[in-house]
């Protein structure tokens, strides 16, 4: 059977499973559509949250960013897990106690203002659509490779499938489908990682293998990797970063974004009790950690594998690295996986010095320029898109074809599950918060469901269009979405629970200033609405204010949000007594059981 047929078989079988579950659990009432009837066990909910959470960014893109950035990109690992700690302690239990369907519901009620509700809907839609762009980028990469079509076609196919299944499923379908997706994606991620760890270190557990000895050379794997990248003019893989301020802010943006993203928060409305919301967050992180602890091993091992494939002399014990770089492989003898990925356009080779060999090195390094000149090299010749790394991993390590099929199914599951969860959050914000609560309270259930489906369709079209020219790799686009959610929604949610003093005017001013400041900073460097060519300053470290990258600005936006909200609240009137009582009541779990049936 050809690889193409095997991929189709695995992807097809996993789809049949998800669709089967979605039909079996098809949403009946609007409440089922949004929150699965409020009766999901914490472990089940944790697993579904993990699938919801781990998107194309985590599955497809993150290991590639770790591989290229090394230690500096640990921010993704800490940011996307550390957010659960603040979610579990500062938001989840109280929002569950409050017991409504959506995030704008809470903000609108707590800040007794339809303006606040509207602004929350806007923040939610902007953050979620940005996030879906990242998913489309990732899913496009996966589909283009496995269906052997161009990247653009891959994105359109992904859009069509996401639409079908988010529209017909609703939350209840999605909860159980997502449990199935979690199982598929974690198996798909782990199996190749285990094989590769065994191959390189003899240790079957990737998170331990990464810190043990590299079998072929006899030195610790990370030391070996440092030596190899160093020999090619790159910074050490484990090298410390100079710009610590940016690293701290980036990690913080991802953390507050995690706690501010509506599709994750909505998950905690579906557990039976407040205590379960706390446990759910813990279980979600356990299931997430299974992938996140493996990802750095995948990244480091893939980088080493890739470089020793190009420079076979570097694989074993090396006395002198200056000689080991002399013989990169001939282009004619390149491995099969390079050929297959070249067809997608995500790997490109240009023989700059016409010697028929593949040279990969850091051509931006001044220190390495002399060595490169002495070698007769005229630039790095292989351009590998970061986002293909995990998908290509089984091929790089010569694993059997069924593993490749499995990883195809896993990558697509990751992208689909998150995109579906986000679309649900977008559609409920528009149909429930905007139309039902604010514009037409008399709308029928049928009309509300129709509006939900139309808004899902609109969001997918917009995200797909922008996904054709994404503002970065999947994980970077997603990081922008976190910055936006962290700067706009997280602070008001937290203040809504922990402060009785912050009022409607403070919340609206806070959200708007956090959102606008963050968007302004991002658009300045990445183009207005991410349209290429409209950026006002080049996106380089010299141009950034205080060295803060657009990806990290969410943390600053959040601080602005807090500061403005407190300042405005302190010069305006106190919230009315019934609102202060409401805040009081969300702080205690007692009486939460009935809150959901409103």
């Amino acid at each position: 059977m050809s690889q193409f047929a095997i991929n189709l078989l695995f992807v097809g079988a996993s789809f049949a499973l998800y669709i089967g579950i979605a039909i079996w659990a098809r949403a009946g009432s609007t409440k089922d559509f949004y929150v699965a009837g409020g009766g999901v066990h914490p472990i089940t909910n944790g697993m579904a949250t993990a699938a919801d959470w781990m998107s194309a960014a985590s599955f497809i893109s993150m290991a590639g960013l770790l591989a290229s950035g090394g230690y500096a990109n640990s921010t993704f690992l800490m940011g996307w897990t550390g957010g659960y700690v603040i979610l579990a302690m500062l938001l989840a239990p109280y929002l569950r106690k409050f017991g409504k369907f959506t995030v704008p519901d809470f903000i609108g009620d707590r800040f007794y203002s339809n303006t606040a509700r509207l602004v929350a809907v806007i923040c939610l839609v902007v953050a979620s659509v940005t996030y879906v762009i990242g998913q489309m980028t990732g899913a496009g990469v996966a589909f283009s490779r496995f269906l052997e079509v161009s990247n653009t076609w891959g994105i359109w196919i992904a859009a069509f499938i996401v639409f079908l299944y988010a529209v017909f499923g609703g939350m209840k379908g999605i909860t159980y489908t997502q449990v199935a997706q979690y199982v598929v994606l974690i198996i798909a991620y782990t199996i190749p990682a285990v094989f590769i760890a065994l191959e390189l270190t003899g240790n079957p557990i990737p998170m331990f293998g990464m810190f043990s000895t590299h079998t072929e050379s006899g030195v610790p794997l990370l030391t070996k990797l440092d030596e190899v990248v160093n020999a090619l003019g790159f910074r050490d893989y484990t090298a410390d970063v100079d710009n610590k301020l940016n690293m701290v802010l980036f990690t913080m943006s991802l953390m507050v974004g995690t706690a501010g993203l509506p599709h994750v928060i909505i998950r905690f409305f579906t557990v039976p009790k407040v205590a379960d919301a706390r446990w759910s967050a813990g279980w979600a992180l356990v299931f997430i950690a299974l992938l996140y602890l493996t990802a750095p091993a995948v990244g480091s091992m893939a980088r080493l594998n890739l470089l020793t494939t190009v420079y076979p002399d570097m694989a074993g014990q090396v006395e002198n690295y200056d000689e080991a770089i002399d013989n990169p492989i001939l282009y004619e003898e390149r491995p099969e996986w390079v050929r297959t990925w070249e067809e997608t356009g995500l790997i490109t080779y240009t023989d700059l010095n016409n010697d028929g060999r593949i040279q990969v090195y850091n051509d931006a390094s001044d220190d390495f320029a002399d060595t490169a000149e002495a070698q007769g090299w005229e630039g790095s010749e292989l351009d590998v898109n970061n986002d293909i790394l995990v998908l290509a991993n089984p091929e790089i390590a010569n694993l059997p074809p069924w593993v490749i099929g499995l990883i195809a199914a896993g990558g697509i599951a990751a992208a689909l599950s998150t995109a579906a969860g986000l679309l649900l959050a977008i559609s409920s914000a528009i149909s429930h918060d905007l139309i039902k609560t604010m514009i037409n309270p008399k709308i029928s259930e049928k009309g509300e469901m129709l509006a939900a489906r139309i808004s899902m369709g609109g969001a997918i079209l917009l995200a797909t269009y922008l996904g054709l020219n994404p503002p970065g790799f999947a994980a970077q686009t997603v990081a922008l979405a976190f910055g936006i959610a962290g700067a706009s929604l997280f602070p008001v949610l937290m203040m809504g629970i922990f402060s009785k003093r912050v009022n409607n005017k403070g919340a609206v001013a806070g959200m708007l200033s956090g959102l606008l400041a963050t968007l302004l900073y991002i658009f300045t460097y990445l183009g207005w609405f991410f349209v290429p060519g409209t950026e006002m300053l080049a996106n380089t470290q010299e141009n950034w204010i205080l060295g803060i990258s657009p990806l990290s600005f969410g943390a600053v936006g959040a601080m602005i949000n807090f500061a403005v909200a407190f300042a405005v609240s302190s010069v305006t009137e106190e919230p009315p007594q019934e609102i202060q009582d409401l805040v009081e009541s969300v702080r205690y779990p007692k009486g939460a059981g009935t809150a959901l049936d409103h």
């Binding site: 770790l66 230690y71 640990s74 690992l77 800490m78 897990t81 550390g82 659960y84 700690v85 603040i86 579990a88 302690m89 500062l90 239990p93 998170m207 990464m210 810190f211 043990s212 030195v219 610790p220 794997l221 990370l222 030391t223 070996k224 440092d226 484990t238 410390d240 610590k244 690293m247 701290v248 990690t251 913080m252 009790k273 407040v274 205590a275 706390r278 446990w279 967050a281 813990g282 992180l285 356990v286 950690a289 996140y292 602890l293 750095p296 009081e584 702080r587 205690y588 779990p589 007692k590 009486g591 939460a592 059981g593």
Partner: protein, 86 residues
């Protein structure tokens, strides 16, 4: 009613104290050991690199899990102790 209020206040204060403690550990392992204090930990070798690197890519995540379960366990006991659980 007055007693109820003071009970609820004590519960909320205890919760905030617990959150403060947990957040201190959370910040120490991530922003501390993994980023800002990494140079100080550079002398402690772990599998071919240093302890700060291990915290950045493994240790912080493991600590986060422990924090959440610890908090959930403690809060469930507080809920019972103050009679404010479900």
């Amino acid at each position: 009613m007055a007693e109820d209020t003071s009970n609820a206040d004590a519960y909320w204060k205890a919760n905030k104290r617990l959150i403060g403690g947990c957040l201190a550990v959370w910040a120490l392992v991530s922003y501390g050991f993994a980023i800002l204090l990494r140079p100080l930990l550079a002398g402690i070798p772990v599998g071919g690199t240093d302890l700060g690197f291990w915290f950045a890519q493994q240790g912080s995540i493991l600590t986060f899990i422990c924090i959440i379960f610890f908090y959930a366990w403690k809060m469930n006991r507080l809920d019972k102790k103050f009679g404010l659980g479900e």
